[in-house]
Subunit: 341 residues, 2 copies
């Protein structure tokens, strides 16, 4: 099998150029045309072999897809549409050339629906494979989503189910766990882990709902409704806590309203399912704070999976509550969250 050490750097770059638009490749940097009067949005995300992915659970295509999806999700979380990405690859000499091609295939596939080009990159030798993607997007300033934009007495909305990605990972690591699942249920969860969808599709719907309801909500100086939010890549609990802390508000999260795939409760306890939903991470949904009328309308428009999970408050307590009265109120913490070191 041909390895990257068997071909020159130029040879490898030549192969990868097939994934890039011809007119912007071949110089020291890439030139992108931006629309005037839009802001530039940038984000970067790194995956390391053995830390963030392994051959056991992830094909090179999936590594590429997830790496691109994570960046696009960060753009969506700001309200921005992607205009291009760069890829910095660290590769061992023993990496098969096919692996690199498949990685790029996965990245390319993820970008396709958004017409987002790979505009540049860097390839270096490394004792361990690493992939750093930096994505650029643009947004209209009045359509910016910030963590610090949240207001009290708004609803907190999740754009889709949580816990699916973590469940998919468990099914890949221990397939016997999922014996009670139908094949579509099993593959649905695995796909949620391998091919998460950045929620760029939400943005147009979101701004549509807001302009229809522009009489409600707190406005900025330009009279736009402030939208608070972020993505749930580090878990739903993390997103809620980050948003509350940035906005200096509190929240009451209704544990029975958190959208969890039904299939989860077929193979783990409902407590475990809730745990994965809150702390599993990598669901790449958006968590948004909106005036109630906008939130309700957006949930209706998004459909399956979207839900209002709670409300924001004007103190700084972040509580997990149970309207059915079975569980006592709990403080929502990061304690089960993922620490990178």
């Amino acid at each position: 099998m041909l390895k990257v050490k068997d071909i020159s750097e130029q040879g490898l770059i030549k192969i990868l150029h097939h994934f890039c638009p011809e007119n912007i490749i071949g110089d020291d940097a890439a030139i992108l045309l931006t629309q005037p009067n839009k802001s530039l949005v940038v984000t970067t995300d790194t995956l390391v072999e053995g830390v963030h992915f392994s051959d056991r659970t992830t094909t090179p295509e999936d590594v590429g897809w997830r790496s691109a999806a994570a960046n696009l999700s960060d753009l969506a979380a700001m309200g921005a549409f992607p205009i291009g990405i760069t890829i910095a690859l660290g590769l061992t000499g023993d990496t098969p050339v096919t692996w690199v091609r498949q990685l790029y295939n996965g990245i390319y596939e993820c970008l396709q629906p958004y017409n987002t080009p790979i505009v540049g990159g860097d390839i270096v030798r490394s004792p361990v494979s690493t992939i750093s993607i930096t994505a650029f997007g643009q947004l209209e300033f009045s359509h910016t989503i910030l963590r610090s934009n949240c207001q009290p007495n708004n609803v907190i909305l999740a754009t889709g189910v949580h816990g699916a990605s973590r469940a998919g990972l468990e099914l890949l690591l221990a397939p016997e766990l999922g014996e009670s699942l139908t094949e579509p249920e099993r593959s649905g969860l695995i796909l949620a882990h391998q091919r998460p969808q950045p929620r760029l599709d939400i943005l147009k719907t979101l701004w549509g709902c807001l302009s229809l309801n522009s009489f409600s909500g707190t406005k900025d100086s330009k009279n736009s409704i402030l939208v608070g939010g972020m993505d749930s890549s580090d878990g739903l609990a993390d997103a809620i806590i980050q948003i509350c802390q940035s906005s200096q508000i509190g929240a009451r999260i209704e544990r029975n309203q958190i959208p969890i795939p039904q299939s989860l409760t077929k193979f783990v306890s409902s407590e475990q399912a809730l745990n994965w939903a809150l702390y599993g991470g990598e669901d790449f949904e958006l968590v948004l704070c909106l005036p109630p009328i906008c939130g309700q309308e957006l949930v209706k428009k998004i459909g399956a999976g979207a839900a209002i999970v709670g409300t924001t408050t004007d103190n700084t307590d972040i509580l997990l509550i149970d309207s059915q009265g079975i569980y006592p109120n709990e403080e929502l913490t990061l304690s089960q969250g993922f620490q990178h070191f």
Copy 2:
């Protein structure tokens, strides 16, 4: 000594936030204001511990500086001014927190003269330390420098001396080599290796020379003079060959005109010095193709180190010639160049 595994990811991020402008940190992505009617330029560059740097020859500050400088040099090579960078770090848990802080110090120092902010980043655990920087710049479309813009019968200009960075590296690896050098000579060469300067300072001078001489040179459809060029980060020979191949032209490079620091010939043969100048790399100068009158004026304005090293031709031969007749004409090749795998 405090290590990154001893503090949480949030703790480390908190320390690094001191290097970032307060108003653009803390969300999923950073928002940058760009000037309307300018193009966005992006470039990315990765350094891996043990491959691109080692504690033996490079302090963390220098690693940071060089990593930032390489990216800014790529922007300069396109004619673009920097507006921000993102940093993706892979770190072992045993990395001292001080090391990370010093790395950021070096990056920050390099960016300072250009008022360029660190606008975001990602920190992940990795078995080997890696630093990927992505830089964003903007340029006026009529002021774009492309490798493919070169024309025959122009001059090829180097904006400064070559071989200094490689000589500095050798002096760090084997200090006894430099016994014949004065202290300023020695430290000058070492500084060229540790703290290369991206040639962003050239750009304004360049466009000034071109507008004064706008009657000469090949124009594009908007009647701007086309400037061909790139940076010499992979060596002067590499830059000349890449430019010629992209522009489908040839070149005659005069070996006695290549600007080499005098101090080099005090401790290596003139052949070795020429070799380092052509193939050493990391001098981060610009190599530009210009109409002769512009080239001569630019060299005068830049001063020390800048030189016209040859002329472009309308065939595709790339020759190293000796006007003194001592050496026969040679084909200039990449054969001594650096292959990354």
